[in-house]
Amino acid sequence: MGIRIDNGEVVDPANKVNRQKIPVHIKDGKIVADAGSDCHVIDAAGCVVMAGGVDIHTHVAGPKVNFARLMLPEDHRYDHISREDGYERSGAGGVVATTFTTGYRYSEMGYTTIIEPAVPPLGARHAHEELVDIPQVDKAIFTLLGNSEIIFQYLENGEKNKLQEYIAWIIDTTKSYSVKIVNPGGANLWKYCDNLHNIDEKLKDFDITPRDIVTGVSDAMTALKMPHPLHLHCNNLGVQDSYKTVLATIDALEGRQIHLTHLQFNSYGSGGKRKFSSEAPRLADMVNSNPNITIDVGQVLFGRTVTITADGPFEYHLHKMTGSKWYNGDVECEDGCGVVPYDYKRKSFVNCVQWAAGLELFLLVDDPWRVYLTTDHPNGGPFISYPYIIRMLMDKDFRKEQISKISAEAGTEIPLKVLEREYSLEEIAIITRAGTAKRLGLTNKGHIGIGADADVTIYRKSDNYEEMFATPAYVIKDGEIVVRDGKVVKQVFGRTFYVKPETGVADIQGDLEDFFRDYYTINIANYPVGLEYLPNAQLVECGE
């Protein structure tokens, strides 16, 4: 049976619909022109109707996420969901929730698609095993390729065709959706207990620089017509003057399409008495004047969380700074990672500047289609804080109240204190679904035009935007009601998206066999992740 949503204010920026009261018809999992007379009718009077949320960057599955769970039993102890509460599967919550809890909580917040953005190729099988256990949402992984020694070899030899062929092969082999680069070259140097500090610094064993890595991989991805461009975590993240590295990287990219992820963590300068300042305004200007760039913010929230990143050297730095628990992992021939729990404090000047820098990016990037809501979950804070962030963006009085609670010293220095902009509902819809879906190239997501997947969220209007976005009245996934009043009522399992870039510009089979024999400890025949690991796989076509 179909569903018709009547009387709701539809906010669907991709189709230029803004708060018009038009009915939304759903049938067979799709948005249709007419669901017919025999359908379930939802009266959405007093409600806003949007597409389901699409999160472009959230660490929810894979080896390093699971290490974070392992390291934080204290975090799970007081937050859990029980079968007695009506969930099919119990689980632990906290800042890195278990797989089932993660799916339920995204769904209860009105999200229907999420992207795990950082999986080393050798971790892909594990990540897909976890995705199978994340219910309620569609999902995909990005493969980490910024420290791959095979890629370094091809870059060093100037073998562009082979590089392109390899990227096509590895994306297919890992059943991935796009490429992420984290601290290009730096994680490789970490295998010598070292790091890279600018984009023109040479690696130790390869005659290449981070500049060569990002431009080379970006060009190969463009040639492969991948739906989402290079997803980049720049060098020098989290340290003073990191913004300079971003500006240099943008120059190096010379107009190539790029998504800069959790840019907040790269937006620091060394101004002021404390030699730590927000350069978010400068980076926002950079985004405003370069239409090839999109960003997600990676908003920081006060409280305890855990940092999980492929940036191994950064995590060691953080461990030394905080004395907190530390896990390091090096992935053979491919990458590295680290995990360190962290507590963002209102009384810490640096943490306050970080917190403000994120909001500054939101408020100073003019085009909402190019800035997306993330906390780099869980690095800046857990994803369940999105409704709170939305309230800070939509309600300047509420934001000012929050600013008044931070360290007084930081409060006087941050550029945020003079910003008056308030986001509209339409802009929120863009930064949480329409914009992210568009940038991901998921044409059936992020909007509710005819033919789109019937992922729809109905929010009850309220002046308290946090409440409004935390407890949707209805969430519909593929045409089925899965959440009522912020509570899961039906468990469903979404798809996993993957791409299969077509190429054939070079023969690399011999190279791969040699490389695997010489440097890997796993046989090439056992390396690919087959479709048997993606029980609900959906191929997304690469561009024309």
Binding site: N66, L70, S90, G91, A92, R125, C193, G329, T521
Partner: protein, 300 residues
């Protein structure tokens, strides 16, 4: 393990005897294989065995350091002191000359990549988890000087896979109690030995495990008093005492699937032999389904 193959020039086995317990480890990863920076394989690695007795692994090593039983923690603590530029008052610890340890620490600091593998000689001896903690702390100390890895020599087929799956589903790797409708974790209270010693379980489902052979007798004894359902392809000491034995396919032999290597890499396993028996999940799902039916009947 690939980085061990490619980069390690110093490998230490502590309380671990891979020659017997992990016979392929040495030839595939840690001893003889040639890698990016180890073109000569074994010749490019300095291998040290630290143990309380001359194990069969010693003959494959360059140096053997014999310590007194139960002294691992003291020896590791002295190594941490040395790593941090301090010297203990005495000249000997755990039967080893401090000078010897000093040389070892110096090797660690100068290594391109040092690796310390530790086994049950560390985890199951006096000091237990404190010993593992001391090893990890030593690894952290070393990070200020050189690339240095510490890795447990996990035993038992796919114990890492079990830990990983439990962790992503419940948040905890083992000793998980679902008694309250949600996962709770407390080793020392909810681990199998603790439960059995308290005579708490009134029924046991045992999958691919050998408690009658592996657990302390006092704990295993309780299994004789309660109904036990055992899923295992082989005859074992536990199947002999079981109330019900359900033969199942042998994972990785007669059924395809995934197993996790000791360094947490998921490996695809193929089926190589036919088997008439079901996969593990078939009887388990059937039991769960039947329990649900019975529950709803009794509720009605």
């Amino acid at each position: 393990m690939g980085e061990v193959k490619n980069r390690s020039d110093l490998v230490i086995f502590w309380g671990s005897n891979p020659a017997d317990s992990h016979p392929r480890h040495f030839t595939r990863y840690s001893g003889t294989p040639k890698g990016r920076f180890n073109p000569r394989g074994r010749k490019d690695r300095y291998i040290v065995v630290v143990d309380i007795r001359k194990t069969p692994s010693v003959k494959y090593s360059d140096e053997f350091i014999q310590i007194k039983p139960g002294s691992d923690y003291e020896v590791l603590t002295v190594m941490r002191m040395l790593a941090n530029g301090k010297r203990p008052d005495q000249d000997e610890v755990g039967g080893v000359k401090v000078e010897t340890l000093e040389k070892l620490v110096d090797r660690c600091k100068k290594a391109r990549m040092g690796v310390l593998f530790f086994g049950q000689g560390i985890t199951e001896t006096r000091g237990k988890h404190q010993n593992s903690a001391a090893i990890y702390q030593f690894g952290k100390d070393m990070a200020a000087h050189a690339k240095f890895l510490t890795l447990p020599m996990r035993g038992h087929y796919n114990v890492v896979g079990s830990g990983n799956t439990m962790c992503w589903q419940t948040g905890y790797p083992f000793a998980v109690n679902f008694g309250r409708g949600y996962p709770q974790f407390n080793p020392g209270e909810f681990s199998v030995v603790d439960l059995l010693l308290r005579r708490e379980p009134d029924v046991a489902v045992i999958v691919a495990a050998e408690p009658m052979d592996h657990l302390p007798y006092e704990a295993a004894k309780h299994l004789l008093n309660i109904p036990t359902i055992v899923l295992d392809p082989r005859e074992t000491l536990t199947t002999k005492i079981a109330k019900v034995v359900i033969p199942v396919k042998h994972a990785g032999i007669s059924v395809a699937g995934t197993a996790y290597r000791m360094d947490h890499i998921a490996i695809k396993m193929r089926a190589v032999l036919e088997s008439p028996w079901p996969k593990d999940d078939v009887p388990l799902s059937t039991i769960i389904k039947r329990i649900k039916e019975l529950r709803s009947q009794s509720a009605a």
